[in-house]
Point group: C2
C-alpha cells in the first residue's frame, strides 16, 4: 500500500498509538522494530488534546513526530464501549441520576443498549463497559466522555471532520459496533444504519476532496486521505455478506472488517466477506491481534491489522515468543541470564537477559514497558514478514503449520 | 577520571539508576544525552534482585547493559532514611506493635533517632521518613526493608562485600548519615563512628585487593574497584574539617562529601573541606543536584555529582531550562508548538513540541517520562560541559554569573 507518508508492505501490523503515542516507545524505537504504520484512536484524540490542536501541529504524524504512514479509526468502537465506561472509574456516580443529558431523540432500543452493555468487549486502551449512556439515533450517537462524563455527540460527518483534522493517511467511516451477543434483529438494524452512515461518511469525505480545486495545502492534505468503509454484521453469515456487498459497492479506498469479535467468529467473519469485497482494494481487520488469527485472516484476504495486545501485554510482562507468551515476572526468570528469545534480533533480546527483564518488571521500572513493548512489536513485525515470505514463496500453508505447531496459546 | 569502563570528564554528573535502571531510559538514550557515569543504590539492589544475581550477571554494567563507568553508594543514606520508611507505604502497620524484631543491641540514642526521624531529608528514589526502626550500634545498623518490613543488618564489611558483588567501578565506604537537625554532640559521635567504619571499609576492600595474587577474574575485578571514603560532620565547620582531615588521611582512592544537607549548608560544607582533602584525589558530592549549587561546589573542588532531581522531576513534568524549571503540564503549553528549549540539542527538543509534551504528561503517557528525562539529563550534561569550558578557558566566574543571571529558582 502506498500512502503520502510511505509504503506499507502487506500483510502489515499497525502499532496502536491510542493517544498519539505508541505507549513507552519513541518514534525511533517504533521504526527500529519494523513497524510501518501507526493507528491512533479518534475518540481519545478528540477528547484530548482535541483534533484542532493536532491539526494546528500539522497533523498526527507531525504532532507525534512519526514520519511514516498513519491511520485513525472512526471513534465508533470507543463511543460504544468507552463512551459508556465512565461509571467504571467513578463507581459512586450513577449516570441515570447525575446526568443532565436531555436526549435529543429517544434511544433506538433501550433493551438492546442493555445487550451492548453486557456484551461489549474490552476496547481500545480502556476497560470493560459497566454502564451505558450511549444514545443512538439515525443521525448519530450521544455519548459521555470516559474521562469526565461530559456529554458529546458524534455523527458520520463529525467523525470524518475530526479525522480530517487529525490528518492520518487512512481514515475510517463512522460505524455502529454492536456487541457480538446482540440479537440478529438488532445486528441487522445496526448494520443497515452503518451502511447509511457509510454513505454519509463518504459524502463528507468527498466534500473535502472537492475542496481540492480551490485548495489550501491543508485542504489538499485532507483530500489525499484514504477513506475505508467498515463491514459489520456481527456473527451472522448472511449479514456479513450483505454488508460486504453493500459497503464493497461504495466508492471507498479500502475496507475495514469491524465488530466486537468472539474468538471463534473471527475467521468465519473474514472468510464470509473475502470473495465479495473488491479484490483490488486493501482490507483491514480492526482490533485483531492473536498470531494464529492473523494467519487465518491473511489466508482470507486481510492486508493490515491493528491490535493493542502486543503493547498492552508488554506492560504487564506478558511477552510473545515462538513457543507462546511467557510471563517474564515469573520467579524462574530471576536467575536466568539468557535472552528472552535466543534468535530474536530485537534491541531487548540482543542486549538484556531474562533476569534483568524480570527485575525491571518486578520492581515496576518504566524501562520494563519499553523493553517489553520493543520485543512484542518486533515479534509481530517478524510474524508479518514470515507470512509475507510464505505468500511470496508459495509456502503459506507450510509456514503456517510450522508456526502453529510451535506456538502454544495455553 | 579513568575507570576500567572508560573515562569520566570532570566535572561530571552521574545519572541515578537506583535499581540498575535510569528510570525510563534505555542505555542507548543514557549515552546519547552525554551521561558518562551511572550511580546505582546498594540498598535497593541488595533488597532486589540481591547482589548475588547482579554478580552472576557479570556485575552492574553487564546486568543493565551499560558499558560505561558505574558507581554505587554504600547504602548508608538509604538505610537511615528508607530503612525507616516502611510505615509510610503501609500506613496501617505500626512497627512498634507489629515488628518481631529483637534488637541484638540497644539503640545508641533513641532520642537522637527521633531527631533523625524528624529531620531526615527526602532520599534516593523513595519518600520522606515517617517512622523509625533503625538501630545503630558500634558494629553496624539494623534496619527494616522499605519493601516488606523484613529485618536486615549492614556493617561496613557487609556494605563493601555487597558493593564488590555489584561490581561498580567506584564504591563508597559505609557511613552514618544523621539528620542535619541532629545536635552537635550527636553529629560528633556519628562522625567519629563513621571514621571507624571508614577504616573497616578500607580494610575489607584491601582484603579483596590482596586476593589479587591468587585471583580469579572475578576477584581481579573486585580488586580494581576504587573505594571512596565519606566526609561527614553535618552543618558544623569544625566537624567537617576534622572529618576531612581524618578521612583524607586514609588510603582511599577518592572522597565523597556526605550528609543530608539543608540547602544553605551545601556550599559551606564543601568549602570547609576543600583545602584539607588531598588535592590529587577526586571528590564526589553525594545527592546534590541544584544547578546553582553545582557551580558553587565545583568552585570548591568537587569533581562529580549525583542527584535524582533531573530524573525524578522529569517524571512529574518539571523540566529544566536556562531560565529555570517549567511545569510542562501547564495549560499554556497545550497550544505551544515551539520546542521546550529553542537551542537545545536533545532528542526531545529536536523532535517534539511543548504542545506534544504537555499532551503526553496530561494524558499520563509513559513516553512523557522518557522525553522529559532525556531533556533534563541533557540539561545537566550541558551544564557540566559549560562549567568545564569555563574552567579550561579561565572564565569560570563569567560563565557562572551568566548562568546565574538567567536561571531562576523561583
Amino acid at each position: 500500500m502506498e500512502t503520502a507518508h510511505g509504503k506499507i508492505l502487506t500483510p502489515a501490523f499497525a502499532a496502536v498509538g491510542t493517544k498519539a503515542s505508541v505507549k513507552s516507545l519513541t518514534p525511533v524505537e517504533i521504526k527500529d522494530v519494523g513497524i510501518s504504520v501507526v493507528l491512533a484512536n479518534t475518540y481519545h484524540l478528540y477528547l484530548e488534546p482535541g483534533e484542532k490542536i493536532i491539526e494546528a501541529a500539522g497533523g498526527l504524524g507531525k504532532f507525534m513526530n512519526w514520519p511514516g504512514p498513519t491511520m485513525t479509526d472512526s471513534g465508533g468502537f470507543q463511543v460504544f464501549s468507552l463512551g459508556a465506561a465512565f461509571g467504571r472509574r467513578q463507581s459512586k456516580i450513577s449516570f441515570s441520576k447525575k446526568s443532565n443529558a436531555t436526549p435529543r431523540q429517544k434511544p433506538v432500543h433501550s433493551d438492546v443498549l442493555e445487550n451492548i452493555r453486557m456484551g461489549m468487549a474490552d476496547s481500545g486502551e480502556g476497560g470493560k463497559t459497566t454502564n451505558t449512556l450511549v444514545k443512538i439515533d439515525e443521525d448519530g450517537v450521544d455519548f459521555l466522555s470516559y474521562k469526565d462524563g461530559s456529554k458529546h455527540r458524534f455523527t458520520p460527518e463529525r467523525s470524518i471532520q475530526i479525522q480530517q483534522s487529525i490528518g492520518a493517511d487512512i481514515i475510517f467511516a463512522f460505524d455502529e459496533c454492536p456487541s457480538p451477543s446482540a440479537p440478529y434483529e438488532y445486528q441487522r438494524e445496526a448494520m443497515e444504519r452503518t451502511h447509511r452512515w457509510a454513505l454519509r461518511s463518504l459524502a463528507e469525505h468527498k466534500r473535502a476532496r472537492r475542496g481540492l480545486a480551490r485548495a489550501s495545502r491543508k485542504k489538499m492534505r485532507k483530500g489525499e486521505q484514504a477513506l475505508f468503509g467498515i463491514v459489520q454484521g456481527g456473527r451472522y453469515g448472511d449479514l456479513r455478506k450483505e454488508s460486504a456487498k453493500a459497503v464493497g459497492a461504495m466508492d471507498f479506498d479500502g475496507f475495514g472488517i469491524g465488530g466486537s469479535f468472539e474468538k471463534e467468529d473471527i475467521e468465519s467473519a473474514v472468510s464470509w466477506v473475502n470473495e465479495i469485497l473488491p479484490p483490488e482494494k486493501p482490507r483491514h481487520l480492526l482490533g485483531i491481534g492473536d498470531p494464529l488469527d492473523i494467519w487465518g485472516a491473511v489466508e482470507n484476504g486481510i492486508d493490515t491489522f491493528d491490535c493493542v495486545a502486543p503493547t498492552r501485554e508488554a506492560r504487564t510482562g506478558s511477552l510473545y515468543t515462538r513457543a507462546g507468551r511467557v510471563n517474564i515476572t515469573n520467579a524462574k526468570f530471576v536467575k536466568d541470564f539468557s535472552p528472552l528469545e535466543e534468535h530474536c534480533d530485537c534491541y531487548t533480546c540482543a542486549n538484556f537477559s531474562r533476569s534483568y527483564l524480570a527485575h525491571l518488571y518486578r520492581t515496576k521500572e518504566i524501562l520494563a514497558s519499553t523493553l517489553g513493548t520493543i520485543h512484542n512489536l518486533r515479534f509481530f513485525t517478524k510474524l508479518m514478514g514470515e507470512i509475507r515470505e510464505g505468500v511470496l514463496a508459495d509456502k503459506f500453508e507450510d509456514f503456517r503449520a510450522d508456526f502453529a505447531r510451535k506456538y502454544s496459546t495455553r
